[in-house]
């Protein structure tokens, strides 16, 4: 749903599959301090889970 939200709002994003990409997984765990997905990085600010309101705030929507 996070990807749909970004696409609907014409926001470009890079997706990393933390299940297959070990380096991406370790980076996610190190930076977010936890294992839950998705973790969304918007200009260095992290959101764990799909939080529509917070994403709109950080994206200026």
């Amino acid at each position: 749903m996070a990807k749909d939200f970004l696409t609907q709002n014409s926001i470009a994003y890079t997706e990393k599959n933390v299940f297959d990409d070990l380096a991406a997984r370790e980076d996610m765990i190190a930076r977010s301090g936890q294992y839950g997905v998705p973790v969304i990085d918007i200009d260095g600010k992290l959101i764990v889970g799909f939080e529509r309101g917070r994403m709109k705030e950080l994206l200026g929507l």
């Binding site: 933390v18 301090g33 294992y35 839950g36 997905v37 764990v48 309101g53």
Partner: protein, 325 residues
């Protein structure tokens, strides 16, 4: 304020099936839900939805969404802040401040996952303590995990986790597992990879930055401490009572909405469907949710047809006065 004939709370199978039927009844319908797909969206592979041989739960609900939208339903991905009855209208306000008014309301908001309610559970959520094995399970490849719960969801979770976990402990409070026999048989085929601990509860979750172990209610292999890399809690759900209570909707002793065979509650124009009710007792499935949604929409349609002046709203748009549908 946006007006409609019918407002549906919940975007799982109950809500989406209701929206499909409502759309085919030519009802102006709005469906509002925070977590699209509900429990079905997180269920992983589904094999027992008649007409579909095998499908991912999220994909199933996406098809339902397409069907509902094709007949005119408006799906709003947002959470509900409040529901009130104002002059015969059901007014729903979302967390983004948008208000929707409808002649009839279907509550299909599902139920929330139960927590164990023990020490460190909240603190370690996401740090080895999880509630969705399809979401977070694959992160624990070659690790030792526990799945807590003795029902079908936990057994399916074990079967899924076996694809990547090194070892799985299924911790069951009761003396037996209650799961679909076909799923239970699949789990038995996993052999020593899965250890089933019956009559056992989690007394404590131990860990600092991440889970390290759980303390069991009784010893296993001589010790109460079971070292783990993660645990997945699948102990069922409890209904949310906030909105039903605000409307005066009758609830049963467990907080589920009481409905009659046509999904009617004790409040005129208010219906309920899916896991927010206990109409089929503990048997909660996508098929029962969808069926209840269809019935609720049919009842809402009959109500609106027989009460044409309920929630009359007069509005102006660009200088034109009119009546909502």
């Amino acid at each position: 304020m946006k007006t409609s004939d019918l407002i549906i709370i919940g975007t799982g199978p109950a809500g989406l099936a209701a929206a499909l039927y409502a759309g085919r009844y030519l009802l102006n319908t709005v469906v509002i839900g925070k977590t699209f797909g509900g429990e079905a969206g997180r269920a992983g592979k589904i094999w027992n939805y008649p007409g579909v041989k095998e499908i991912d739960g999220l994909d199933l609900t996406l098809v339902m969404r397409e069907q509902a939208e094709a007949v005119g339903a408006l799906i709003v991905d947002d959470s509900v802040e409040s529901i009130e009855n104002k002059g015969g209208c059901h007014v729903v306000k979302t967390s983004e401040g948008v208000e929707y008014s409808g002649k009839a309301l279907i509550i299909a908001q599902g139920a929330e996952r139960k927590h164990l309610g023990i020490v460190n559970e909240k603190e370690l959520h996401g740090r080895g303590v999880h509630y969705c094995i399809t979401c977070d399970g694959p992160l624990y490849k070659d690790k030792v995990i526990a799945v807590v719960g003795g029902g079908d969801a936990s057994v399916k979770g074990v079967n899924l986790a076996a694809q990547y976990a090194k070892k799985i402990y299924l911790i069951v409070r009761d003396p037996q597992i209650v799961a679909e026999p076909i799923n239970h048989d699949e789990m038995k085929k996993l052999g020593d990879k899965v250890e089933v601990l019956l009559d056992t509860e989690i007394a404590e979750i131990v860990g600092g930055a991440h889970i390290e172990a759980v303390r069991l209610s009784k010893p296993y292999n001589g010790s109460e401490m079971l070292p783990l890399d993660a645990m997945f809690i699948e102990i069922g759900a409890k209904p949310s009572t906030v909105f039903p209570s605000s409307l005066g909707v009758k609830l049963d002793a467990s907080g589920y909405i009481v409905v009659d065979p046509m999904m009617q509650t004790n409040v005129a124009g208010v219906y309920a469907a899916g896991d927010a009710t206990a109409f089929f007792g503990r048997f909660k499935q996508n098929i029962t949710a969808a069926a209840m949604g269809a019935v609720a929409a049919t009842s809402a349609y009959s109500y609106i047809q027989s009460s044409p002046h309920v929630c009359d709203v007069h509005w102006k748009e660009a200088g034109r006065e009119g009546r909502t549908m």
